[in-house]
């Protein structure tokens, strides 16, 4: 059974792959939303899982597992039909396009910043080496202990409920019946815990943090947790467990965000992920070690809770030691100096950014004027609504092009980052362009419309879509404008 659970876990990591999918399927702008969806799914799976499991266990201990098997099968069939690699959905260029935009931004920064970035990096790198800083170790240990005890207690609770003393099960019950009863109780406890923790996180935690600071909040939280944990095995009835659950929720709610907030104080621009990873690592260690607390059952049925409480207390001691932490005077001086350097650097960058913004605005307004000038020279047939008899034709053309592009899933690429596209021109398929051009009626030789057919570029500026243009490689803006000129 241990082996099978191990095997099941080995093929986990769906969330990681799903995140990779988000990167492939969605443009930068929408990724945050999609990542949040994955996060919400993960949390709801953790909170609802025990309830569903406990509920289904009423029909037999194996029922939840078989139901889950059925759902896995359904999900697999659905995944087989609907989940496609990004390339097969015709979105392969999306990432490339994003990268292009990103690269260009980087280039801009290098050009604009004139070496400022380098300076800043140097300062950042000098500032902080995570493993040399004892406070990082302490806060990681705090996270580890807190996670350990919180995770441990979720394993211990089901076992605690098995004790006849609490009145959930009686000694007369068979193993199967005991399982069902415990399942029912746990399915009530877990959502209660989750909801009260959410309430704490939204209401109590911000106030405590504001008033006393994060470390004090963590200290109070873990102390409350330790108290609740030690209290648990002495409760006379299962109903009292709701009280300890609420205490646990308050404790965990107050302490769960402490490490990431505290660690983020150390995080610079270049090393934020590395430093925040310390908290995640500590969390993982706590999650792995937590369930091992059940081993203390070998000694006694009260000891596990005491150990759980002691670990929580260790966490609170860690927070307390950080509260008392005083840095060596020379370090403080160095830090202050660096702080000043950073503030002046940030100020300089801000000024630079404002300057660049003004320049850009000026450029934009100039461009608008140029566009107005250009419009006077361009063949009016290219503008929908401006050239009576051509209006309908242009509408059909633009609609056709729109539909063609939509089939190839290019729309987003064209619609997004208008400025980038205007400057670089999107490379569309040649055959697509010729198809569109074939649909244009024969030119009227009398009005000199010949260039219209020969041209390979089409402006759809005012055809109801955003301002965008299609281009074929090798076509220069000058050649394009020449093609559009009114014949003399």
């Amino acid at each position: 059974m241990v082996f099978i659970r191990f095997l099941g876990g080995l093929f986990g990591g769906t969330a990681t792959v799903a995140s990779a999918f988000v990167v492939d399927l969605y443009p930068q702008k929408e990724r945050g939303k999609q990542f949040a969806k994955i996060g919400i799914s993960a949390i709801s799976a953790f909170t609802l899982g025990p309830s569903i499991g406990g509920g289904l266990a009423q029909f037999g201990l194996r029922v939840p597992l078989f139901v889950a098997t059925g759902f896995s099968l359904l999900a697999m069939v659905a995944a087989y039909i609907y989940v496609q690699n990004a390339e097969d959905l015709g979105l392969a260029d999306r990432k490339k396009n994003d990268d292009l935009v990103k690269n260009e931004k980087d280039v801009n920064i290098v050009v604009d910043g004139v070496g400022e970035k380098k300076d800043e990096e140097k300062i950042e790198n000098e500032t902080f080496v995570a493993w040399k800083e004892i406070r990082v170790w302490i806060i990681s240990a705090q996270t580890m202990f807190t996670t350990l005890s919180f995770n441990g207690v979720s394993s211990l609770m089901a076992l605690l409920l098995l004790e006849p003393r609490l009145g959930v099960v009686t000694t007369e019950d068979s193993v199967e019946v005991q399982g069902r009863k415990v399942g029912l109780w746990v399915s009530a406890f877990v959502p209660a815990l989750a909801v009260s923790q959410m309430v704490v996180l939204l209401t109590l935690y911000p106030q405590v943090e504001k008033k006393f600071g994060i470390l004090t909040s963590g200290f109070i939280g873990t102390t409350i947790m330790a108290g609740a944990l030690v209290l648990m095995p002495y409760l006379p009835s299962a109903a009292y467990l709701f009280i300890t659950q609420v205490l646990l929720a308050i404790g965990n709610g107050l302490s769960t965000n402490v490490s990431s907030t505290y660690l983020s104080k150390f995080a610079g621009k270049g090393n934020a992920a590395q430093i925040l990873a310390w908290g995640t690592r500590a969390d993982t260690v706590g999650n792995i070690l937590g369930p091992f607390l059940t081993y203390f059952y070998l000694i006694d049925s009260i000891i596990p809770f005491w150990f759980c409480g002691i670990f929580a207390m260790c966490g609170s001691l860690m927070s307390f030691s950080l509260l008392c932490f005083k840095r060596h005077a020379s370090h403080v001086a160095v830090d202050e100096k660096r702080g000043e350097e950073r503030t002046s650097l940030i100020k300089a960058r801000k000024e630079h950014a404002t300057k660049m913004k003004e320049l850009r605005e000026l450029h934009e307004s100039n461009r608008e004027e140029e566009a107005v000038l250009l419009r006077g020279k361009i063949h009016p047939a290219f503008y929908r609504g401006l050239y009576g008899e051509y209006t309908e034709q242009m509408t059909i053309l633009s609609e056709h092009l729109y539909q063609e592009l939509r089939k190839k899933n290019h729309m987003y690429m064209l619609g997004s980052g208008v400025e980038q596209i205007r400057q670089n021109a999107v490379t569309a398929h040649k055959d697509l362009i010729s198809k569109v051009i074939n649909s244009i009626p024969a030119p009227n030789a009398d009005t000199g419309d010949k260039e219209f057919l020969d041209g390979v570029s089409i402006f759809l500026s005012e055809s109801g879509h955003e301002e965008w243009a299609l281009n074929i490689p090798g076509m220069t803006p000058d050649a394009l404008i020449n093609l559009m000129k009114i014949p003399h």
């Binding site: 080995l10 769906t14 266990a57 005991q178 399982g179 746990v186």
Partner: protein
């Protein structure tokens, strides 16, 4: 013009299925929490020193209760409880390993295959646990 809604429907469909997969995958851990202890006991058979489950209702109640209260039975029940920790830990360690190899796999063989393999693994895990 609703440019994005129409054209991204395929991606959205894909995403919806992926979310379902994530939920099912993570349920692998949480679904069994409430039943784990007794489930382990069912799988392991009767604890030594305790009254056998097969004789429930047949056995003399006084004898059964005496056996349940005996030190030997208490000890073996505590052992079983201790072992449930291994079940949770096995899953946690394996999930940790999966976060290491899954991304590599998905980069090399395509994300679609990775998702299919992963959900198949969950299926085998659930079914295997159900049948043990």
């Amino acid at each position: 013009m609703p440019i994005f809604k129409n054209t991204l429907s395929k991606a959205d469909q894909c995403m919806a299925v992926l979310l379902a997969c994530v939920v099912i995958d993570l349920m692998g851990l949480s679904l069994t929490i409430p039943i784990l202890a007794n489930f382990a006991r069912l799988v392991q058979g009767d604890a030594p020193g305790c009254p056998p489950a097969a004789l429930d209702g047949i056995m003399n109640e006084t004898v059964r209760l005496t056996m349940l209260a005996s030190d030997e039975c208490q000890k073996s029940v505590n052992e079983i409880k201790a072992n449930t920790g291994v079940l949770s830990t096995a899953y946690a360690i394996a999930s940790f390993i999966s976060t290491l190899w899954m991304p590599v796999f998905s980069d090399r063989f395509g994300r679609r295959l990775a998702i299919l393999v992963s959900i198949f693994g969950s299926l085998i895990g659930f079914l295997g646990q159900g049948l043990t």
